[in-house]
């Protein structure tokens, strides 16, 4: 906030934003938000036959079950992520850097692979039961349904909470905590009444990301056999001759997502803030004897959410599937995944530049509006974007069933990540540098490309990495929009699971994780924070 104001002050009064920049920014923002209009039109024009396929009672059930799951996963992600972040940032936990890295790695495991691996371990006749059988355990609690979906989605989402909370704890000013301590408050009271409230923006941002992830999840809930709005939409698209009915449910899902964003914004608005930027780190808490339970906690989280799922995949990869034998690793699909994700990342990094530059250099009501417009689609579930683009492209023969449409879907969904990241890194670049370049004779575009962008490249790169990572993991929109013969790793894995050949797809699942894993290094924790602060 402070920095933005400084930038505004530095910008000479009365200077108008270049017309080209405004037009480019507006075009990107509108292109991102427009296809959703097709969804709205289609849903609102549905006839009675279509409406009969989304009875009110079913819709209410699906909304309630979706919301319950989202709430459950948010709570679970907070319970796992917050203590972990506190231990890693604020205590003398042995090996805390390593724990921090291990705890953020599940970020690269998409929910449908998480579900696959958890089923392999915990389903009836799964690995765990095979291990426990000699001990007389013949049946495990049923993993299918709510609890299975909750576990899989917690695995894939708690790193968001962990990373954001850790960043919040680093940035927090320790003086309030010290004041509370000096007034006689115990350590627990300080954590609950001072530290936690000051983390509220981080917690709200993390919870928002987790909730939106759950709303748009399709793979994990399908595998765990838990019906939500996304499965309701997909079954109407895939099996029920009911595209209009799917559109109605998709619109309901979009509304739900918007409500979640509004709720999170509200929660975040009340902020306890002290003067930031003392530049002093909080003192490290000596765990003493408590380090054993703390280590046990970290080991449980990392063991269950990282070692177990990867272990299942590796173990499966080492043997032939009982159903289809040894399936070949889908190298073609891997190449397709990498190319599509690379292109999405490259294009996203470039097209968000006009908006980012506009907001940075020429802050105004218009530029902020354009920024919000561009950020809005990040709340849209993938299946809704996919469906909207099916409607949009089916009438245009040249576009229909082409890679361009699939790429557009990726851009609409993930461009906001690139924007948030680029914006964040621009904020640390002083506009005076650009002015200096201009005064030395550079033209506006030249000053931007030779001075400003090199300084902001960290954020641009991190944003592109995030788009790449998200695209590689994307399933529902890809299922709806992939051109004939174009399979990605995600769709290959998905099809393998529909044949019941779970272990046969394990090598492909490992490959997907391996492609995505190195990118975690590129995502600095600060960028994760900016990602969660889209307004």
């Amino acid at each position: 906030v402070t920095i933005r104001r400084a930038a505004a002050a530095a910008s000479p009064p009365g200077r108008r934003a270049p017309f080209v920049l405004v037009v480019a920014a507006a075009a990107v923002g509108i292109a991102g938000a427009a296809p959703i209009a097709y969804l709205v039109r289609r849903a609102l024009s549905a006839d009675a036959d279509a409406r009969a396929l989304v009875p009110l009672s079913t819709t209410v059930d699906l909304v309630v079950d979706t919301a319950l799951l989202a709430a459950g996963v948010v709570v679970a992600a907070l319970v796992v992520g917050v203590p972990l972040a506190w231990l890693v940032v604020r205590t003398d936990l042995p090996g805390r850097r390593l724990w921090g890295l291990a705890a953020s790695l599940p970020l690269v495991i998409p929910s449908f692979i998480a579900a696959l691996a958890l089923l392999g371990a915990l389903a009836p006749r799964g690995l765990l039961q095979q291990v426990l059988e000699p001990l007389g355990v013949t049946a495990l609690p049923d993993i299918f349904g709510f609890w299975g979906a909750l576990l899989a989605l917690t695995l894939s989402t708690y790193p968001y909470v962990f990373l954001l909370t850790a960043a919040g704890l680093r940035a927090a000013d320790p003086s309030a905590e010290e004041a509370a301590r000096s007034l006689g408050a115990g350590r627990l009271a300080v954590f609950l009444r001072v530290t936690l409230p000051s983390l509220r923006p981080s917690l709200a941002a993390g919870s928002l990301l987790v909730a939106l992830y759950v709303l748009s999840d399709f793979g994990a809930v399908s595998l765990m056999d838990y019906s939500t709005l996304t499965t309701g939409i997909y079954v109407r698209y895939e099996s029920l001759l009911a595209l209009d009915a799917a559109a109605i449910l998709a619109l309901v899902l979009v509304v739900l997502a918007v409500v979640v964003v509004a709720l999170a914004g509200r929660w975040r608005r009340t902020i306890y803030r002290s003067t930031p930027g003392t530049g002093r780190a909080a003192p490290i808490v000596q765990l003493g004897r408590w380090r054993w339970p703390a280590l046990a906690f970290c080991a449980t989280v990392v063991g269950f959410f990282l070692v177990l799922p990867l272990g299942v995949l590796v173990w499966w990869s080492a043997q032939a599937d009982p159903i289809v034998g040894r399936a070949p690793v889908a190298w073609d699909a891997a190449l397709n995944s990498a190319l599509a994700a690379g292109a999405a990342a490259a294009v996203a990094a470039v097209v968000v530049l006009p908006v980012a530059l506009l907001v940075w250099r020429y802050p105004s009501r218009l530029s902020r509006m354009l920024e919000r417009l561009t950020l809005f689609p990040s709340a849209l579930p993938g299946i809704a974007v996919g469906l909207a683009l099916v409607f949009f492209s089916a009438r245009i023969a040249a576009l229909y069933q082409t890679l361009a449409v699939l790429l557009l879907a990726y851009l609409i969904r993930f461009m906001p990540y690139a924007l948030a990241s680029t914006r964040a890194s621009l904020e640390s670049v002083s506009p005076r540098l650009e002015e200096a370049a201009r005064s030395l004779g550079r033209r506006p575009l030249g000053a931007t490309t030779s001075v400003v962008l090199p300084l902001a490249r960290g954020g641009v790169l991190a944003g592109a990495a995030l788009v790449f990572l998200s695209t590689v993991k994307e399933l529902p929109a890809t299922l709806l929009l992939r051109p004939i013969g174009f399979e990605t790793l995600a769709t290959e894995i998905w099809q393998g699971t529909s044949l019941g050949a779970y272990s046969a797809v394990a090598p492909s699942a490992l490959l997907l994780v391996a492609i995505a894993a190195p990118l975690v290094y590129l995502l600095s924790w600060r960028n994760a924070w900016e990602l969660g602060a889209p307004d």
Binding site: D49, E238, S239, A346, L407, P483, I484
Partner: protein, 339 residues
């Protein structure tokens, strides 16, 4: 920064190339097939056709329903030339929108008349029967029900598996609604629910569940048994046919139609003819893991199968399915079988 931009540009260029390859403009000697039939089952047929004729095939594999939806959505813009579906309802639906061509009499004449319609918009390529697959370790043949209606008996509580989102199950239900009325079918569904019927995503997973013993019986198409046994020969599973005339023994057909808007009529007709060739029919009937009923004279079914004339499903015209699918789907949603 320059390096980064160069890398980005390279990635974009590489993708453009890949995209060009994936969506190469159609040449005269290529066809786009929308196939509701599983890639695993029919890929050899597609490859053989290309080898024999030199005509390249772009095949979009998906559920018959979603392909029918796509055809309707695309209208005249559809890239498809041929629609090969797993059951006649979706073909009929596309035909009623005027999107399928009339087929020549010589094509229709190749198969028994019950596997086409008078309007000649589609023709059967193979027949399949609805059956009850059962676990031979859990049940003896004489314990099996003689009619699908008996599955609501409390004796079957917790022991039945079905695939409510599967097109053939919906076709069976639609035909049954047509023959016996909605009330009777609704009560049957409620009876199944009271019997804790288990839902599976498709026929294959239902048969596998029966093989594992998760349920004792499953309502499926007959040939999935052979498909699953080809991969896992030791599963204790067998097909059981309900008594002649029972709706649970409905005989359905996979069928094919030529898209009205195609500009490659001749090649499309060659594909349809190929599906009726002795080689393709034999593959569909007796290829590895395959066990459908061939429709062409002179091609024998798998010896283990009872003759179609002995199954004698209910008297039901497959042309009606286009109209009977929607009521079935509506009922499945209303009764909570699909959410």
């Amino acid at each position: 920064m320059t390096k980064l931009l160069a890398a980005l540009a390279a990635a974009a260029a590489a993708l453009a190339l890949a995209g060009g390859a994936a969506t190469a403009p159609e040449q005269a000697q290529s066809l786009t097939i929308y196939s509701g039939r599983d890639e695993a089952l029919v890929k050899p047929i597609m490859e053989r056709f290309t080898r024999d004729t030199g005509i390249e095939l772009n095949v979009r594999y998906a559920s018959s329903v979603s392909l029918a939806t796509a055809l309707v959505e695309e209208g005249r813009n559809s890239p498809a030339d041929v629609f090969w579906a797993t059951e006649p309802g979706t073909l009929g639906l596309v035909a009623t929108k005027g999107l399928l061509q009339r087929l020549p009499q010589r094509t229709i004449g190749k198969v028994p008349s019950r596997f086409s319609t008078r309007s000649r918009r589609w023709v059967g390529t193979s027949a399949r029967s609805r059956v009850l697959v059962y676990n031979t370790q859990a049940l003896r043949p004489r314990e099996l029900p003689t009619s699908v209606w008996q599955l609501t008996n409390a004796r079957w509580k917790g022991k039945i598996g079905i695939a409510p989102t599967n097109g053939s199950f919906q076709a069976f239900l639609g035909a049954t609604i047509h023959m016996y009325g909605e009330t009777r079918v609704r009560n049957w569904l409620r009876g199944l629910k009271a019997n804790d019927v288990k839902f599976y995503p498709n026929n294959t997973t239902t048969v596998q569940a029966v093989g594992r013993g998760d349920v004792q019986v499953g309502l499926v198409n007959h040939y999935y048994l052979y498909n699953v046994l080809a991969d896992t020969p030791n599963l204790p599973i067998r097909n059981h046919w309900f008594r002649p005339g029972d709706p649970g023994a409905l005989v359905l057909a996979a069928g094919v139609g030529i898209v009205a808007a195609t500009e490659r009529d001749a090649a499309a007709q060659r594909f349809v003819d190929f599906l009726h060739s002795k080689w393709a029919q034999r593959f569909i009937a007796r290829g590895p893991g395959a066990a459908e009923y061939p429709l062409i004279k002179g091609v024998a079914r798998r010896p283990a199968l009872p003759p179609l004339t002995r199954i004698r499903g209910p008297r039901y015209s497959l042309g009606r399915l286009a109209g009977d699918l929607q009521p079935a789907i509506r009922l499945l949603i209303a009764e909570g079988f699909i959410r």
